[in-house]
């Protein structure tokens, strides 16, 4: 047999750069297109959702502050309001129409854009590596920095689009185009800054999930730092991208573009760090290596429930810390609420509904809002069951003599129990800090009770996830729709004044606003029953279908 040399064949190179060799960015274009294609549903959903919420808010505000008198009233209120400052930052030009609209939407818009790019960057850098999708791509001719560059390009495009859309919404509401664009640019700059933060987190953390959690934690910390800086009126606002956006002050005489450069400079430095770290990281691993672990399992790790709990320990801890900090901030701010609302009762009514005692009203709002946040945790936890199935890990448990019902119930009990634990932590967090700042511990008990009172709604949202998982597993993620709705309803419901039928799609709407209103056992029992029924339905579905 002829084993001689094969004739030299001219091979087409996969991605030739201009000088014929592969540079560090070779292939960025292809990777960008691939990433954009993979996100062709997800990104539009983020952007449309953002536009819809912002559009609805501005639309509701338009008639509210159309005279100089009303605008001055708004300014007087927020300038002295700790809550407003905590969420919206330093109020600049809030006696102008544009300034008011921008101030009302800035928290939601900024945090949403930050979350959008954090999810995007983590998914494309680490998620793709963990699923193995990236390996094939990376083995093709691509430069060292191509994957990072493509991801960052996509995140920048997404941030830019978000800024443009929000600017468009403002302009359509009657704000001048120039300042609207400047505000949008500030928003895009926030996206850019957090793109860089997420890129670093993705290099450092040992798994995609910790990268995501880390970046979100940094984002929340920066948000709170900016808020505290705005409350105290000091330099702390300058430590966070959210603060840089405030300093653009697009709507007054003092409008200035240069804080954009701070964001861009920050992003550039942090991105350089990410690239430097990326060169020192192994594919699929972070710089922080996982430690060696136990050679044998702890004695208690012997049931599916123990496994479910073990797998969610990190989730519980991360969310627990985040929620307790948030609860403490809300609780501590409670004392300042009276000053704010006293200065403008009209606004007080808008934000808190028809409630007499303003502090109680504030605390009820906080309880409601924190309840929805706990529900978000519960949904994340509930989705773990689907993840276990999808990844094939459930097979190993089910092949070990565990019935489907028992397997599902293990996850369900962990979700229900841990979200109850979270509600206790939140209730105590709000109650104790509020008690400390106001020297009145009498509210601790009622606030704890109020937090526990939101649990039926929390469980109902988790139960929606279980029901979807049982019957339409591919669509389990749809549970985010009612969850997002619950947020919008909680945050903007009174302002936007939806019809009851629509508001009622949030389970939280059916609960009384405790502690301002009194506890209603009927609502509690009915919603808990609904949660149980949905969960039972889900388990029934799971028992009769194929597993993925």
């Amino acid at each position: 047999m002829n084993v001689g040399h094969a004739p030299d064949v001219q091979r087409p190179s996969a991605a030739p750069s201009s000088d014929g060799s592969a540079g560090p960015f070779t292939g960025t274009g292809q990777l960008f297109r691939l990433a954009a294609r993979r996100d062709r549903v997800r990104l539009p959903v983020w952007l449309i959702g953002l536009t819809a919420v912002i559009g609805a808010s501005t639309n509701a505000l338009v008639g509210f502050y159309d005279t100089p008198v009303k605008q001055a009233g708004y300014a007087a209120t927020v300038e002295n309001s700790a809550v407003s400052r905590l969420m919206g930052g330093t109020p600049y030009d809030v006696d102008t129409f544009g300034g008011i609209l921008a101030y009302e939407i800035t928290a939601v818009a900024g945090v949403t854009v930050a979350l959008m790019v954090i999810f995007l960057v983590t998914r494309h850098i680490r998620g793709e590596e963990e699923s193995g999708n990236a390996e094939l791509v990376r083995s093709a001719v691509t430069g060292r920095h191509a994957a990072l560059a493509a991801t960052l390009a996509l995140a920048s495009v997404a941030s830019g689009l978000a800024g443009l859309l929000v600017a468009g919404v403002l302009a359509l509401s009657g704000v001048a185009v120039g300042p609207s664009l400047l505000f949008g640019a500030g928003l895009a700059a926030i996206g850019l800054a957090f793109t860089a933060v997420a890129a670093v987190a993705a290099q450092v953390a040992s798994t995609a999930r910790t990268a995501l959690g880390g970046a979100i934690l940094v984002m929340l910390a920066l948000f709170i730092v900016r808020g505290i800086g705005a409350v105290e009126d000091n330099w702390l606002t300058w430590l966070a991208p959210f603060g840089w956006q405030d300093e653009i002050r697009p709507f007054g005489e003092r409008a200035q573009g240069w804080p954009l450069l701070v964001s861009i400079g920050f992003a550039a430095v942090v991105l350089a760090l990410a690239a430097w770290l990326a060169a020192r990281r192994d594919f699929g691993a972070g710089l922080l290596q996982a430690r060696a672990g136990r050679p044998t399992a702890a004695g208690w790790l012997r049931t599916p429930m123990a496994l479910a709990f073990r797998m969610q320990r990190g989730l519980l801890l991360a969310w627990g810390v985040g929620l307790v900090v948030l609860a403490a901030v809300f609780g501590a701010v409670g004392r300042e609420v009276r000053t704010m609302i006293d200065s403008n009762p009209e606004v007080g009514q808008v934000i808190l509904g028809q409630i007499d005692d303003v502090v109680l009203g504030y605390l009820s709002f906080v309880t409601h809002f924190m309840g929805v946040t706990v529900a978000t945790y519960a949904v994340v936890s509930a989705l773990r069951l689907r993840r276990e199935e999808e990844s094939g890990r459930a097979d190993a448990v089910l092949a070990g003599g565990v019935s489907r019902t028992r397997w599902a119930l293990s996850g369900i009990v962990v979700t229900a129990g841990c979200s109850a634990l979270m509600a206790v932590a939140v209730g105590l967090g709000v109650g104790l800090t509020h008690g400390l700042v106001s020297d009145d511990m009498a509210r601790v008990g009622p606030l704890l009770g109020a937090a526990l009172g939101t649990l039926p709604a929390v469980w109902t949202l988790a139960a929606v996830a279980f029901a979807l998982h049982g019957w339409v597993p591919r669509w389990t993620a749809l549970v985010w729709l009612p969850t997002a709705w619950a947020f919008i309803q909680a945050y903007l419901g009174d302002l936007l004044d939806f019809p009851d039928g629509i508001s009622g799609l949030s389970p939280f709407w059916h609960l009384p606003k405790v502690p301002a209103e009194s506890f209603e056992p009927v609502a509690f029992v009915v919603l808990t029953g609904l949660a149980l029924a949905l969960t039972a339905l889900g388990v029934a579905g799971l028992r009769r279908r194929d597993l993925a």
Binding site: S206, T207, A285, Q289, A290, A292, G293, R294, P295, T296, A297, A298, L301, R302, T303, P304, L307, R310, M311, G314, S391, G392, R393, D395, A396, V397, L398, A399, G400, G401, V402, S403, R404, R406, R544, R545, D546, L547
Partner: protein
């Protein structure tokens, strides 16, 4: 008694008929090889036996019970190595082995220690950091360390190096519990030849062959090479029309052909009249056997 019995099982995924009237019998105590091309339905059949999938129609019996209805009780009597091993990334290999063993009601610590050593597994590493082969080892050790009646192994040695492959074979031959049954899906023919009492071959969701390797060989063709003193025309004329001859080639007195095994006697009788000066006949190699079964439509 049969440990596994599938009768005319149909399983569809949308338009795909993954199992299309599939039959399978595995006797208690035997090592049964399960072979077939990629996507032919092996993993589907095994997941169906585990009650993870529900058949559209047909009958299934596993260890005397119904794999769908009695799944949890039956699973205490079997161990499974999935075709695609996915483990909890933040548990260590040791934790996974213990956990899976405990779910089934406990693990023999001696066997566990022995297997961990034989497979050279570092049980302190987190599963997220294992290589593919090491993840496979974790699943394998977890399964083999349990003392059960039936082992359902879906390509258990894919990704293992030859030393580990040898360890696995030693385990099946020497260390597995007395009287236990093994269903071994595999693409490694040498492994199947070394271990299996009987094999079933599946293609496009249907069983195309089942029996011992000797049986299978008997059902296929023998390659015959002969030199004859007769000229080529005579030889061709003599063999033309004989049953069971395929791929005949003739060149200056040298004859090469494939003969159906059951027609071999008749063909050789005719060859004798042609003045054979040399004769070689060899049964199909395993590869030939499988290429034949995988590649051609059975008649």
């Amino acid at each position: 008694m049969a440990a596994i019995e599938l009768r005319d099982v149909v399983k569809t995924f949308g338009a795909v008929r993954a199992l299309d009237g599939f039959d399978l019998e595995v006797e208690a105590g035997e090592v049964h090889g399960f072979l077939g091309p990629n996507g032919s339905g092996k993993s589907t059949a095994i997941r169906l036996l585990l009650g993870l999938l529900r058949p559209d129609s047909g009958g299934a019996t596993l260890l005397g019970g119904d794999p769908w209805r009695d799944a949890p009780t039956l699973h205490r009597r079997l161990a499974y190595v999935p075709g695609e091993v996915n483990l909890w990334p933040n548990l260590t290999g040791g934790e996974v082995i213990d956990l899976l063993g405990r779910l089934r009601g406990g693990l023999d610590q001696r066997r566990r220690a022995d297997l961990v050593e034989r497979f050279g597994l570092d049980p302190t590493r987190r599963c997220g950091t294992y290589s593919k082969g090491n993840r496979q080892k974790v699943a394998l050790v977890a399964a083999l360390a349990s003392d059960v009646e039936l082992y359902l192994l879906d390509e258990p040695t894919s990704g293992l190096d030859p030393l580990m492959e040898a360890e696995f074979q030693t385990w099946v031959r020497e260390s597995r519990p007395e009287g236990s049954t093994v269903l071994l899906s595999s693409h490694i023919l040498a492994e199947v030849e070394a271990l299996c009492d009987r094999v079933s071959i599946i293609r496009a969701g249907r069983r195309v062959q089942s029996g011992t390797l000797a049986d299978l060989r008997h059902h296929t063709r023998t390659t015959v090479v002969a030199d004859t003193s007769a000229d080529d025309e005579t030889t061709a004329a003599a063999l033309r029309g004989l049953a069971g001859i395929h791929h005949l080639s003739l060149e200056r007195g040298r004859l090469v052909m494939e003969v159906e095994s059951h027609d071999l006697a008749g063909v050789l009788r005719h060859l004798a009249d042609l003045g054979v000066t040399s004769l070689q006949a060899h049964p199909p190699t395993l590869e030939e056997l499988f290429l034949h079964e995988y590649g051609e439509v059975p008649t």
